[in-house]
């Protein structure tokens, strides 16, 4: 297949290719044989490294690809589905939205600050390389219990890393989520999502088209950092790995990122370039090979022309380095100087490193001497994929089947349970987190973090884009299929509560090792649940990311399929916020109470960390009706507030609706009464899906009821908003609670700052 005269030969100093070396590269003997077949000869060490990276789980999706094909990906508004740097949808008024979520779990476990920071950097690049200007970020974080010092260290480092990076680049954070559960003890989940807007015509893809066009390396210099990060992200951590993982730590440079962002958008607008891609996982290798693979061309590059940070780097290192803030650009032939001029304005380096060829191969030279020459398509698309049968862990089945009846009564009374749930780190306000993120830069943040979904304005219009990330790992642990469905349902509900129509999702699938049958079971079930919900809601999947091997010493994280949902509000005047507003307003519940306590925060917070029971059932038809009903209400502007019920149940929803924004002393009271025939704990703390608490002026109550009836959604008047400074009063069939707002304030807003200042 390759002209022998020019075939690469081993470099002096290359290690011999032994079965051990192959194994160290994460490749099985069969995979190695396949590589030999593709090459028609023995690969060089450099080529082995390239294959190892491209055929890693991270780039090659070995153990997930077949299942992921089941996901719905099409809708008339989808402009770009999975396979590109980011998905793209039409959001109207001539605008397209690019969005994507990515994990940075392993790097964050080793070095939380840099790991999380570079996670934000990578996801921003995925979005602006599509030609879109990043307008918002979200982050989904899962940590172990906060009473562990190590967890506090990880938590504060991750949050600071996300903040310092995003703030410096000037992208507002509009939302996210944080969970604490021992299921994430040694393996934090750090997922970052980015949204970017562009005029539809500015979309550009990561392709290397046009034989003779020029490859340019742009941005930061290449160092030895993160070498083999893609393989590293695909292996489980073991005790003592901190030391061994050190050389792989990547340091983020948000200032360079900001320059790269501005320069890239200017380059794309200039028309001097035909393709651009982030050098993300597996760096120059994946960007070069993927761009060639997508366009059916080849590329040839000389590593000696790549600007490096350290002397003496080998081709292997240069190809696999994951130094941050770098891009590969394909410049139209003859426009190299124009490209360079734009980059110089932004004080960035650009080096011509090669060109687009017709060879169909990924060819690499070192000062003119060939060191790698691999057919591009087999490299990018030929990664063997596996779908091995899975089996549910016995332990999970028995937890799910556990009889919860003797946990129904709270050991220290209802009020104490109420405060424990509202003040548990999972339910309590995440203000401590999002106040470290710039939430208002660029003056388009219409709904900031703290409500159901963040809303960002499409500049120059009265349209908004809403976004929410959701995944309750306890629910997905106990039942991956309904848990994943629930994550999609909750994300859609959050977006809908603001008045936005759910449009599409991106997802980040964080799991343990796919080599284990019970993990494969979790993965398959979660994908199927996500498929069902997305199909039903007509919210196709436009992209995402799979992160396997989130394990330490054999302990896997909860299966955590994080959903990033996008919604569109056509008229921002119809936006609805989550907090109660005026005294005398009617409070209504949309949806029915079933009192499902399985996998609830109540069990965890009040019953010593119990994770058990069947998680709340998801009825897709009911959810869909609820979404439509809410949108009819918001569209007709009959609501004063809407807030969904999720973690912490009605208790959390009511408290949040009363307290509103995190400024002490604000807030309004409420008097509510439930007539349901349910135990108090099940009623107040059950996390049943399909419910939203709304409020409206008294004069609108009838209209609200009528709209609910039109959509077949149960609608119950449960109470009235009372004046400022009042309390939250709750009456059930068997109990009465009166909770002063300042007490609720201390529990809801005080918990996390209290723990973190210890």
């Amino acid at each position: 297949m390759i002209a022998t005269a020019e075939a690469p030969r081993p470099r002096p100093g290359d290690p011999a290719i032994t079965p051990e070396l192959v194994e160290d590269h994460g490749l099985s003997p069969e995979e190695y044989e396949q590589i030999r077949g593709i090459m028609g000869r023995k690969p060089t060490f450099t080529e082995l490294g390239v294959f190892s990276a491209m055929w890693s789980e991270h780039c090659g999706y070995k153990n997930s690809k077949r299942l992921l094909r089941l996901l719905p990906t099409r809708a008339p508004w989808v402009i770009q589905g999975p396979g590109e740097n980011a998905g793209v949808i039409d959001v109207g008024a001539g605008y397209a939205l690019a969005f994507k979520i990515e994990s940075h779990n392993h790097p964050s476990a080793v070095e939380p600050y840099q790991g999380a920071a570079t996670g934000i950097g990578g996801i921003l690049r995925d979005v602006f390389t599509m030609g879109a200007r990043p307008v918002a970020t979200l982050n989904s974080l899962h940590f172990g219990d906060l009473d562990r010092p190590r967890v506090r260290y990880l938590f504060s480092g991750v949050v600071k890393g996300i903040g310092d990076y995003g703030n410096c680049v000037g992208i507002p954070s509009t939302g996210g989520e944080v969970y604490f559960d021992r299921g994430y003890e040694d393996n934090p989940i750090v997922n970052a999502m980015c949204l970017g807007l562009m005029r539809k015509e500015d979309l550009i893809r990561g392709t290397a088209e046009g034989v003779g066009n020029t490859l340019m390396a742009v941005g930061a210099r290449t160092g030895r950092d993160g070498i083999h990060g893609a393989t590293f992200a695909s292996e489980e951590l073991s005790e003592g790995d901190d030391e061994a993982s050190r050389p792989q730590v990547q340091v983020g440079d948000p200032f360079t990122e900001k320059l790269l962002l501005e320069a890239s958008l200017e380059l794309i607008a200039s028309g001097h370039i035909v393709g651009i891609q982030d050098m993300g996982a597996a760096g120059l290798t994946s960007s070069g090979a993927e761009m060639a693979g997508r366009s059916g061309t080849g590329v040839e590059m000389d590593v000696a022309r790549v600007p490096v940070r350290e002397a003496g780097m080998t081709p292997y290192e240069i190809l696999l380095s994951e130094s941050q803030e770098r891009m590969l650009v394909v410049a139209a032939a003859g426009r190299e100087d124009a490209v360079r001029e734009i980059l110089e304005k932004w004080e960035l380096e650009a080096a011509t490193i090669g060109s687009v060829t017709a060879s169909g191969t990924f060819r690499v030279l070192e000062a003119g001497v060939p060191v790698a020459d691999i057919p591009a398509l087999p490299l990018t698309e030929g990664c063997p994929t596996y779908e091995r049968p899975g089996e549910e862990a016995e332990e999970v089945r028995s937890l799910r089947d556990m009889d919860l009846s003797h946990y129904i009564s709270p050991p220290d009374g209802l009020e104490s349970a109420f405060l424990a749930v509202v003040g548990s780190p999972n339910v309590a306000s995440k203000q401590w987190v999002y106040e470290q993120y710039d939430t208002t830069v660029r003056a388009n943040s219409i709904e900031r973090p703290g409500g159901d979904a963040g809303v960002i304005r499409v500049p120059g219009t009265n349209r908004g884009v809403a976004a929410s990330t959701d995944c309750n790992g306890r629910h997905t642990y106990l039942n991956p299929r309904s848990g994943a469905m629930g994550a999609v349902a909750e994300a859609a509900r959050n977006v809908t509560c603001t008045g936005a129509v759910p449009m599409a999702i991106t997802n980040c699938l964080n799991f343990g090792s796919p080599l284990k049958p019970h993990i494969r079971h979790q993965f398959r079930e979660a994908v199927l649940g996500m498929r069902d919900a997305c199909s039903h809601f007509e919210t196709p999947v436009t992209g995402g990311n799979v992160s396997f091997y989130n394990e330490t010493d054999g302990e896997a994280v909860y299966p955590t399929p994080v959903i990033g949902m996008i919604g569109v509000i056509e008229d921002l005047d119809t936006i609805v916020r989550h907090s109660f507003r005026d005294e005398g307003d009617a409070i209504l519940l949309l949806g029915a109470n079933r009192g499902e306590l399985g996998g609830s925060e109540y069990l965890y917070a009040v019953h010593d960390g119990l994770v058990a029971g069947e998680p709340p059932d998801v009825n897709l038809a009911t959810e869909r009706a609820l979404q439509r009903c809410l949108l009819a209400m918001t569209g007709r502007k009959v609501l004063k507030s809407a807030h969904d019920v999720a973690s912490g149940g009605l208790a959390a929803t009511l408290v949040e609706s009363c307290l509103g924004r995190p400024r002490k002393g604000d807030g309004v009271g409420a008097a509510v009464r439930f007539d349901d025939d349910l135990p108090d704990t099940a009623l107040l703390f059950g996390e049943d899906h399909g419910r939203v608490v709304v409020s409206c002026g008294r004069e609108e109550e009838d209209r609200v009821r009528r709209i609910a009836a039109d959509y077949g959604v149960p609608c119950t008047r449960i109470g009235t908003v009372t004046g400022e400074g009042a309390a939250l009063e709750i009456e059930t069939r068997s109990s009465t609670l009166k909770l002063a707002l300042n007490v609720l304030n201390d529990h809801y807003f005080g918990t996390i700052p209290g723990i973190m200042s210890e």
């Binding site: 600071k160 410096c168 000037g170 320059l259 106040e435 939430t439 003056a443 219409i446």
Partner: protein
Amino acid sequence: MKVAVITFPGSNCDQDCVRSVELAGGSPSYVWHRETSLGDADAVIVPGGFAHGDYLRPGGIARFSPIMDAVIDFGRDGGLIVGICNGFQVLCEAGMLPGALLRNRSLRFQSHDCHLRVERSGTPFTADYARGQVIRMPLSHADGNYYADPGTLAGLEADGRVLFRYCDARGNVTHEANPNGSLNNIAGIVNARGNILGMMPHPDRAIEDILGSVDGLPLFRSLLAADVAVGAGTREVA
């Protein structure tokens, strides 16, 4: 009125300032930091962001950008200059305003709304506010802890050069209302001549109802209405 908005590499709020000036009825233009002239600008805004990444010290490197000589001359001639957030830090580093902005007391980046008490009306920056008015706008910084040596601080107070102070919703200047540890709850000051303002909070993010506040607009309106001709001497702060 023509307003030059300086863009440094790393400026993030230049667009917000441009929009604010537009909404207030002025004509803004961007001036890249490598320029050496402000053209025919009648006023200058040094916007927020992370000029040069805020590496070394916020504003420390930006202060040496080529455009800064023109900005310094402009200020020396009595031209009106507003530095917001990072812009305030740049102006302090350039010696155009006294003092320095240290790391927040909390050591964390802080992004949330704050209340400010307008300490003086009738200045080119606060003409459209009433004295003692309580206004609300976002703040967003890691280094906003205003510091000046005791003599300088006493001078600022004696001359009435503190224009904005952090306060609670009712206008009380309290320790709890101080978000970052600034001495005397200082949020914004002017130079001795009264033509250069630096402030940490963001009036440029409080310019539309839908953003939650319009309390920043009067600042831009005041600026646009102030008739200060560069080089024509001063309009002393009343």
